[in-house]
């Protein structure tokens, strides 16, 4: 793809990059803490990953290989347009293979293939403040983080249990980073939370509209909040991926006809392809299960 002329490398101007880079370094130094930054207007609207894009633009170099996923898939609109954007403004190589990428920008999933030392995962974050739904005032949530005043988070989870008999939060499930900061993992399914724990890759988070950066360094403790008698659990499915037969990946429910027929397929399109290339196959058809727990990302 030809590189567009007239823009700085990776679109942002150098002073903006320096400001974001300084913020990212402090974010890594205080894992899980949200660093405010001067988020810029980007050539796509808020809610389309402007925070992640600004982080990627500040980190990316000519030798990087970029992968972009949206809900696990490389071929969805958001992923395709962001990948094209960086191919055009930075001239970098892109890939759909998790193992080939040095930099992965993601919306709402962590790849199934375990990430390695040296890779960087950039999350697009809509609401960075995990306390926002229990305390709308920024001045208060800052104090709550400063004072480690997190009891109210457990009250919220407890209310789930009293109402539903279990913790019903299924995505954007709050985590405790390095035993200190409660952090939003972004709207990934809770299925992905355990992957954040002691991940060898560096995890960076960017929220464009809310103007916050945060980070989890490699090999850092990330624990999902829970109770001794209601331990954290991830989603499970009674069916397997219809295409590759995987029983260990996050499955999306796809409606396939007008009679309510449906099938379950891997949300991670690269993982599914890897398995099919390796000779695995699913049952191929619509699911015949009547009751299957819905994945609700």
């Amino acid at each position: 793809m030809s590189v567009v002329r007239g823009y700085n490398f990776a679109y942002l101007d150098e002073q903006t990059k320096r400001m974001i880079r300084r913020g990212l370094l402090k974010a890594v130094a205080v894992p899980g803490y949200q660093v405010p930054f001067g988020s810029r207007e980007m050539p796509l609207p808020y809610g389309w990953g402007t925070g992640g894009i600004q982080v990627t633009a500040s980190v990316i170099g000519p030798d990087d290989v970029l992968k972009v996923i949206d809900q696990g898939a490389d071929d969805t609109t958001n992923a395709v347009s962001i990948r094209r954007f960086f191919a055009r403004v930075a001239g970098v190589a892109t890939t759909e293979r998790t193992t080939e990428a040095t930099l992965i920008q993601t919306r709402h999933r962590i790849p199934e293939t375990p990430l390695a030392e040296g890779q960087i995962l950039v999350y697009q974050v809509p609401i960075p403040e995990p306390l926002r739904w229990v305390e709308p005032r920024e001045t208060e949530t800052r104090k709550m983080h400063a004072l480690t005043e997190y009891g109210v988070m457990h009250v919220k989870l407890y209310e789930d249990i009293t109402r539903h008999g279990r913790i019903a939060t299924s995505f954007n499930y709050p985590v405790l980073v390095n035993g200190r900061y409660v952090m939003s993992p972004s709207p990934i399914p809770k299925f992905d939370n355990p992957k954040m724990h002691r991940m060898p890759a560096l995890q960076l988070f960017g929220a464009g509209r809310e103007k916050r950066l945060y980070a989890v360094p490699p090999h850092t403790r990330v624990e999902s909040l829970d109770f001794e008698d209601h331990p954290f659990e991830v989603q499970t499915w009674d069916d397997v991926c219809a295409l590759c037969g995987a029983d260990d990946s996050y499955l999306d429910e796809v409606i396939v006809d007008d009679q309510g027929g449906r099938m379950f397929v891997c949300s991670d399109s690269d993982y599914c392809r890897q398995r099919r290339d390796a000779g695995h196959a699913g049952h191929g058809g619509p699911s015949d299960l009547e009751t299957v727990e819905r994945g609700t990302p």
């Binding site: 700085n8 490398f9 150098e14 002073q15 990059k17 320096r18 400001m19 880079r21 300084r22 913020g23 990212l24 370094l25 402090k26 974010a27 890594v28 130094a29 205080v30 894992p31 803490y33 660093v35 405010p36 500040s58 980190v59 990316i60 170099g61 000519p62 800052r142 104090k143 983080h145 400063a146 004072l147 390095n178 200190r180 900061y181 002691r198 060898p200 560096l202 989890v216 360094p217 490699p218 090999h219 850092t220």
Partner: protein, 197 residues
Amino acid sequence: MATMISDGFDDPVMQTQAVFRAVLDATARPGRPREVTGPAAPPEPMMPGTAAVLLALADLDTPLWLDRAMAGSGGVADYLAFQCGAPRTDDPRRAVFAAIADPLAMPPLDAFALGSDEAPETSTTLLIQVADLRDDGGWRLTGPGIESAHRLAVDGLPDDFVAWRTGGRHLFPRGTDVILIAGRRLAALPRTTRIEE
């Protein structure tokens, strides 16, 4: 009298990106030394690694504190004023970056900005020039970014340095972040890293 100011980066955009990635990687993996390529001949006594980090990250928004050795006859200050446009401050508590050429005479770490509990990112990042950095012995480092333990041997820091770090640990999330620099090599000690001698 006209003085010559030596060159900055040859290719500012790309070199800045490479230096930042090295510093990001060093901060994410405390104690793992990284090499940076910066200006070939920055004014004495500034090391190429220090010049590279400041040219990459300092600008008009980042007050800079120089120790007496670094400030010297003014060559470093003129160079940084021209290449980065960063304002200088004499108050270490106002410094976003502090550059230290003579660590044995440096003020204790708590003389710099420590940030606040609500805004811990407003602390000083110290660039401390040391005689040597090796990862084959010396300190035992643990903390975020480190799988089990990293080793780092540093020559030329004050005897009290580890005590300053240990003594300030209870202040977390307040605290300074340190980048140690020897020539073109650098290693980071973010505030979360525990040092055992």
